[in-house]
Symmetry: C2
DNA sequence: CGACATATGTCGATGATCAACCTATGCTCG
DNA sequence: CGAGCATAGGTTGATCATCGACATATGTCG
């Protein structure tokens, strides 16, 4: 399992869930913020990803509520989800370091 | 252009080309090394990616040679390719930092 | 002679994301 | 009071990078 690297929307989604549970619409705005406006999660991407991550056991629904007549469903990272995010960031950091090391060899200041 | 994030095989491919030009088969082994054996570039992925990156202007063929009766085609990063890699690593580093910051808020030592 | 490393490539399937659409409520502005 | 926007949930078909399998050829080792 989990042999293939996650894509940027998924990584940002897990990052947006890393500190506390959030509901779908809040995740879209949070990802927008985290990525400095670069990534706007589409609902198609979001709900497909949440369904997939739940099936993988990385994310789970922790509650629902109605605020001002609007329904909210909250999602949270599981222990496995936290582990996955920790592992992914470690691997990415290593790759980024290696890329920058090679760029410096070439004379590029990264 | 270049709105969508590159995937891990592409990132590793650019990283493998970051210090010096390499030929296809050498890129497969180099990516394997960089990723500590985690990512084995399939030739389907490699040559499709090289074709795509050439069309994007990030990679170009810099020479060909025959060594021990075997044909080698060398690929290198262009200026745009270097810029793309620098930008990508900067964005990834920022996301990784943000993910780790949130994980620490949760009490996870990343 | 058979197997393996080196070297380049093609092709159909898979799957994550995108773009576009849908429903519904509450608030604000004119 | 009606239009438009932000909030909140979702589905569906298309796109495209990657995967897995296959194809071809040479040099080397046992």
């Amino acid at each position: 399992m989990a042999s293939k690297m996650m894509q940027e929307p998924t990584l940002l989604l897990l990052t947006a869930l890393a500190d506390e549970p959030r509901h779908g619409y809040a995740l879209i705005k949070e990802v927008d913020t985290i990525s400095s406006g670069r990534v706007r999660l589409r609902t198609g991407t979001l709900y497909a990803a949440l369904a997939r991550l739940q099936q993988q056991g990385w994310v789970q629904v922790t509650g629902e509520e109605v605020v001002d007549g609007r329904h909210r469903r909250y999602y949270a990272l599981t222990k496995d989800g936290v582990d996955a995010l920790v592992g992914e960031t470690a691997r990415l950091r290593a790759t980024v370091q290696e890329a920058n090391r090679r760029l410096r060899l070439r004379g590029v200041t990264a």
